[in-house]
Symmetry: D2
Subunit: 384 residues, 4 copies
């Protein structure tokens, strides 16, 4: 019986797990109940080792295969979002202001499904490390798990992860060698001048002309400084200054999101951003405070692993784009791919509300496909 068929048999059970998790969302590193639920299932399945408390509420579980061999890491993220769900589903979040609007409940379920299958069948040599991480949403839980030594401690050789993709055809896998998700950095600039009455600009240091000149100059990072054939986005997303129609404000602030796929573009953008802010501030005699915060690095698939994962995906679902366009969102699986070879894939879940929307719900039908992918990947990577 092919993997998919066997796991399809877990479908009802998986739906139960997923909906339970969905009803009980937890944020950031505070995934205690989620972790407890996962551990309970893993013990039921009879996995060989369960290591808790990594990166606070993260878990690594080990399933040994039939013989000696390498260790393959499979990763799922556990945390929910600070969103109030509007699905109206029976299994909707029971906690106002928290919801699994990014489908990590589905990711956990996929990995539990694979764990059950692998623990039952053990048709592989070597080991599987099941990596459940908290705090993917802006918390850098993946980075913490790497820093806490997960890769070395468990001898992980390669690592793989999946993200659900609403509005991609159901069952279609997307991946690509090289960067698949962007680095996301965030800049916040405050320009401080000297406020005063709108009638007498000459006794003020007006931050508004400084701010508009700055935002204009920032456009040239992309239009002039970045190679046309490379990818860089610098979006000024907020400008705020002033509180009365007749008062020249004392300060003005802005934010920008900066997205790139390579260290070169990241460094270029930050260097130019800093130069432009400093120069424009000097030009207008305002004081600038720049907080340039580097977020997640780009998620860069390793070519060999990406190609291998695409082959597994093709076998499992018959529908894969192995050279999919990159996404400009970010993901802290990036840190795991910095530590070990591996690949990240999207799995289409068909029509529905988008990620991070209050109306989003994970499509339970997709969970067995993701689980099958994980399981079959292990079998092919570590043939018994």
């Amino acid at each position: 019986m092919p993997v998919l068929n066997r796991i399809a048999g877990y479908a009802d059970q998986m739906k139960g797990w997923r909906r339970h998790l969905h009803s009980h969302p937890e944020l950031m590193f505070d995934c205690h109940q989620t972790a407890a639920f996962i551990v309970e299932r893993l013990r039921e399945f009879g996995v060989d080792e369960v290591h808790e408390g990594i990166a606070s509420t993260g878990i690594v579980a080990i399933i040994n295969g039939q013989g000696e061999g390498a260790t393959i890491g499979l990763r799922a993220d556990m945390d929910a979002l600070p969103i109030t769900e509007t699905t109206g589903a029976d299994h909707a979040s029971t906690i106002p202001g928290k919801a699994h609007s990014c489908g990590h409940d589905g990711h956990v379920t996929m990995l539990l499904g694979a764990a059950k299958y692998l623990a039952e069948t053990r048709r592989f040599s070597g080991r599987v490390a099941l990596i459940f991480q908290p705090a993917e949403e802006d918390g850098g839980g993946g980075e913490v798990m790497v820093r806490e030594g997960v890769m070395d401690r468990f001898g992980v050789k390669e690592v793989y992860g999946i993200h659900n993709a609403p509005n991609v055809p159901f069952g279609k896998f997307l991946t690509t060698p090289g960067p698949i998700l962007a680095a996301v950095d965030t800049a916040t600039v405050t320009l401080r001048g000297k406020g005063g009455h709108g009638a007498t600009p000459h006794v003020t240091i007006d931050p508004i002309p400084a701010m508009v000149s700055l935002v204009g100059a920032l456009q040239t990072i992309v239009s002039r400084n970045a190679p046309a054939q490379d990818v860089l986005v610098v979006s000024v997303t907020q400008i705020h200054s002033g509180s009365a129609s007749n008062i020249i404000p004392e300060d003005a602030w802005m934010t920008a999101t900066i997205r790139s796929f390579t260290p070169e573009m990241r460094d270029l953008a930050e260097r130019r951003f800093r130069e432009i802010v400093a120069g424009q501030a000097a030009s207008f005699g305002v004081e600038a405070v720049l907080d340039y915060e580097r977020g997640y690095p780009p998620t860069v698939n390793h070519p060999k692993q990406a190609e291998f994962a695409a082959q597994v995906a093709l076998e499992v679902s018959g529908n894969v784009d192995p050279d999919s366009p990159r996404e400009m969102a970010a993901e802290d699986f990036a840190y795991m791919l910095q530590a070990r070879p591996g690949a990240y894939l999207f799995l289409g879940t068909g029509p529905g509300a988008g990620l991070h929307q209050a109306a989003f719900d994970f499509n339970d039908e997709a969970a067995p496909i993701g689980a099958s992918f994980f399981a079959r990947l292990v079998e092919r990577a570590l043939p018994a």
Copy 2:
């Protein structure tokens, strides 16, 4: 006995009136108690006529002189500001959120002092029209009084007004022929594009670059379009756009205050403002909504009357600048000077908190000087 000396004798009484008014501030056209207090005083003084209910709570009172002659208008404004006073004075505002932070209580008191003197002494021929107006602060009470026919109905030939000036030497009068206060117009612009994710500007119509280009272009109204020897201020005072660091906003809005002294500059500024907004919006494919609101016109002293008033001021206080720099604030006495010849003067009240500040209080010492100016002006304009 010179005017000033006689009126100096009213000083305690005037202080009482002023502090009563100060304790009971009223806003805009709702100056009912203030009007009642004024009427009560005027009747005590024995003025000849009291006309209430003009421009809602405005009053015109008539004092006849010894014989036939012209009618001189003297104007005081009555309304307070929506400010919570912080003086801590015994006579401080009893109403949270309302305060006489612009000293109109002092203006009323000056005019009452003059009324008492003129009613008692009547050393003039012709008539005095005492004009008490509500809603100077942004309400256009002066305009309404003119529109309701005050000038024609009472045969006013010339009209004069005083504003207290903190931080100008105590007792010093300032005036000038021609414009003494500015026209103040206000523009509000909303640019509507199409919002979206910060990572994908190409599927948005980003209003922020449009806004910054607009604000840059607006600088050229003053730097290129206005004659260097004329006076025009265009201050962009607020820009607001965006609510998240990773979202390109749908719209951006700004306000500007525009100040000028002549119809030519007013028209130039509005014409260019409209052209620039339309052109910049077209350039960036955003929809622009411009609300260009004309506020008070410039307050333009008539040269002969300004010179005469300066002579009276010199006689009364011995300290006058007859060619004082213009102020870029606005005043609805402007409408009265459009209707009749006349002049507006500032009267220095010495060191203290500035106008419209929560800590401001009118300097009672200055009231007899203002009252003496009004009274002596009548005696000199309409010699008995």
Copy 3:
């Protein structure tokens, strides 16, 4: 004997041809001597047909193979540049102001070498169409040849071309499926205001603030309107305005070069350019004249032919990058690839002065490699 070895035996002869052509550069469509030289050679080789006078001085020659089969087109460009050569070589240009600084002399020589080989060996079925075109440098000679029916008239099924690439490792071929060279469009904008004295901007319509606002706004085509993962360059390359330090000029003009790889980006750039010019002109009250000239389209390799050409290149030189980065220059071979499937390749010629530099000279060592590529491609495409 492999193709390359046989053709290597022509090396001295080819060097002679190349240096003769190099000494006698001709511009644009006026390639009469060049054409005469080519025709003389082709007749020596015993080609089957020589068709002259296409696109003025262009030539198509036919070599029939051993039997029936398709027709493969091989193209070389013939024209030189309006540059005064500074190589000091014995074979340097004999004509001041004209030089083969782009190596088209080498391209002709490669194709003559291939012609000699193919005419001698005829180890293919079908036919070869040798296409020699004038006016590649900005003259659109390739477009004219297509318009004059070369593809249909000679039944060309596929078409291939080579460009020499200094400073790419000697003998290395570069190609890629899809766009390999850019579309190059050119915009010229004149803004006409009203000149006057620098002391009195208010009686002028100053074109300089309009121009700088325009150039600023144009940056946003790339920074905001173009997809970050697509490629677009908009470079403002010239701004000129004014002739005296105290005079506000009447007009200002600029040029821009716009480079893209897809019709979507070309159209987007032109649409936004037009909108921005119109909007900025309206904003500043200047009259704008925009000449937006579409140059060569992108040179887009057909995937199958590019892959095939890469295989041939690998066989011939052992060094090929089949997925080479695109170049942002343009080439009128683009028109031939619009008319027929085919591919364009660069051939590395090692260190030396760059293309279009006065010190450039084609590396004669590379000609036999290019000739071998052409010859072997025919043999593999049309096996006997």
Copy 4:
């Protein structure tokens, strides 16, 4: 006989002098023939002293009055312009490329007329110093004469000068207390980046975006930094960059003219200009070279002398505006008014071509009026 009448009798003679001078224009300090002609006349008139060779070709001549008294300086400028005259007059310039297109020939003639009168009549006590200066047009001849000690050496107490004013009503004098002509400073900025191909901006440092941001930022000196009630003009008058439509240039340069009436505005403009250039250059990574050249200071009339001159002008011509608007041109008489009290006046010469135009010619009818003004001023300032 009033002054004017007597001098009117010199009209033909003065016309002869003027036309002779007009035919023989000399530039800058090279006014040798002009000086020789003046000296010849002065000796004819019998002036008491002639001092030549001051500031190269400048002259100071002394006429003693009837007794002891102060010394009044009267000044005329002598130099022509590098213009080719197009009047077609019989007395037109005999030297291509040189012409008295600013009417200094008329100024010399006025002062000669006054000299003749004063030498003949001597109806004054004290002394007159007739100051003929070269190099008013951008050469600073007036400054040099002051530096060479003219004021001290000849004990000049007050100094007066006249400039002809075409298109002001004939015979009307214009003057004003305080600034009558502007300071004119000139800035030249070169921004040096790194040139390259228009297709690859990322390997260049494009000076054009830097230049446009700079010019935009410079607008704010007037729109934000200068008091609205003061006068400042900053006009960017030239921008030049680039020489080919596909090449990103290495540098860009601009000029600006800056005009003001007070040291405060001059300093403010220069300070902000320097800050903006430095800041913008830093912002874009270009190297900036700024040459900020201070030209003539403002020409500031002394109030008492201006009022006195206006009274004399009224007596002489019956038509004077004593409070005329300031002109934004500059004049090196400014240096003489820095050294001594005095006044500068314009004298209307009626309709005709403007100053510095090739078609300009001085109106001979105005010379006797100017001469009479000078003469009568002496008689009133130094009553016999």
